[in-house]
Subunit: 317 residues, 2 copies
């Protein structure tokens, strides 16, 4: 292979890909410039995973990149018909976000159990008010999503003494099938969504699902906004049907200032950052360069997405 042309879609400046110097011709494009650049790219690195620019730029004349890598765990923005039907290989950032997201979820669970938000409000009022808080040890959690992120969340909660049920598309060792979810929900103190967004999981957390949860349960979404019917969650929280929730992802991101979610009672809003620890962008760049080296060497890429499933199957390397 002569020096391949790597097109990088970014809006913010993305990390330098120094390791590619001398091995690739790197061209950067923003959302507007993407369509013009696509035909001459061998590979496309999608830094801005929340953008629909690839979906919009892809259909058209001329060749298309044979490899698309997204610097994200979720690939939902790239599962459009033209890419699905093409021979282009899609890879993702599986592995980079597991531990940070697991820590984030564990922090939310502990923070909710110990009522840190209540303490903070009382502190701002200089009000000393002792309360009894909840034990996390011995509580029960369902983690929807049995990929590396879901498994790591499950492992971290298990280490805290939580009884965890991992739910995936199909049953396998240590994983319950999604058909079992309605039977599992009523027993859970914590329901965590860390699933890939696919047609099967879109809108799965709706009024029917919230109605199955205990009134004392809390729901945490670190998957994608599309997993949740936001109006249904809002109704469940407003009615006290659900004790609390934390959303790190939303159907519209950034969450618009006028959204009613910002001040919904019992809802913690954070700006899609659960996996983003200091140095994460360098880790992502490193991961892409590693895969690039494999590509150049004619070795199999890692983290190849099964485009039909919408994620990297666990059997994959």
């Amino acid at each position: 292979m002569s020096e391949p042309r790597v097109l990088v879609l970014d809006t913010d400046p993305s990390p330098r890909l120094d390791r590619l110097t001398g091995h690739a011709r790197v061209v950067r494009a923003d959302e507007k410039g993407l369509a013009d650049r696509l035909p001459e790219a061998d590979a496309l690195l999608v830094w801005d995973f929340a953008s629909d620019a690839v979906r919009h730029a892809w259909p058209g004349p001329g060749p298309r990149p044979v490899w698309v890598h997204t610097a994200s765990a979720g690939v939902d923005r790239l599962l459009f018909p033209e890419l699905l039907a093409s021979p282009t290989v899609l890879t993702n950032a599986r592995g980079v976000f597991d531990r940070p997201i697991a820590e984030y979820v564990a922090g939310l669970v502990l923070s909710m159990a110990k009522d840190f938000d209540g303490s903070r409000t009382l502190q701002s009022r200089r009000h000393w008010l002792h309360r009894e808080t909840e034990k996390v040890y011995g509580s029960r959690a369902i983690v929807v999503g049995s990929g590396p992120i879901g498994r790591r969340i499950g492992g971290t909660l298990t280490a805290l003494g939580v009884d965890v049920a991992l739910v995936g598309r199909t049953a396998r060792e240590g994983v319950r099938a999604s058909e079992e979810l309605p039977a599992l929900l009523p027993g859970a103190d914590w329901v965590v969504c860390a699933a890939p967004l696919t047609p099967a999981t879109t809108g799965m957390f709706d009024t029917a699902a919230f109605a199955l949860m205990k009134p004392s349960a809390r729901f945490i979404n670190v998957g994608r906004g599309g997993h949740v019917v936001e109006e249904d969650l809002a109704a469940a929280l407003r009615s006290g049907r659900l004790a609390g929730a934390a959303l790190d992802v939303f159907t519209t991101e950034p969450l618009p200032p006028e959204s009613p979610l910002w001040d919904l009672p019992g809802l913690v809003v954070s700006p899609h950052m659960s996996g983003d620890t200091v140095g994460w962008r360098d880790d992502l760049a490193e991961q892409f360069c590693d895969n690039f080296d494999r590509w150049r060497a004619g070795e199999p890429l890692v983290n190849v997405v099964d485009k039909r499933l919408g994620y990297v199957p666990s059997e994959a390397p």
Copy 2:
């Protein structure tokens, strides 16, 4: 032994001690009534561990209880000369608070690392602002206090991938001696105090100690207020010498409304509740009743405090 007389010091109504019915004459006293009741008590159960009433009521004529149990892990309020010099056996609530406090500390660590406070402020302003947060995995913690609470905190942080050094009075398997603390402090991202309050540990977290910590370090106190020189901590936080702190205990409790600690930058204030999970008072009552049964049966009491050391030695049952 005929039916022993158990005197209970409480201000709030304390849990019923139904298990003692038919086995003991239970009399309750508040702080004012304590002195009059002491001479006729065989055992004293101190519910209100923050009270100095026992210290004040103890010196005087007549017999004194042969057994004092405090429904707390810390026994500092009971280490006054007359009780120390007496043959009275002192027991504490060792064991009840370990897991709750460890969860609380882990929650504080994660909450600080993930900047949940920042997210909450931004949420109240409807402001979407992505930030990079800290990994907890791979960070380093010092836990001062090698009793069951300190060890459990250490174990929980270790399970989160934190590199933990446990510091106790003397070195032993898995425990560093307190003399090593100055050498350890500069390497720590988290410094947690869960020590008993004794003459040796009083005021140990002062300007000299904070000066040894990294500017990025956070300090957490779930021990006793007296471990910290509060003015020194305030100065360290105000000057940015220390990145943050969380105090659950204070030299004066409740913390007075006029205390400058309430709105100190980077300080999380909570009302001495880190160990108090739903049902904790029942657990404490149960623990006392178990020890009462041993006492009645002529068996050795558990959780006997070494009054010279000021805590239950780890070698004890």
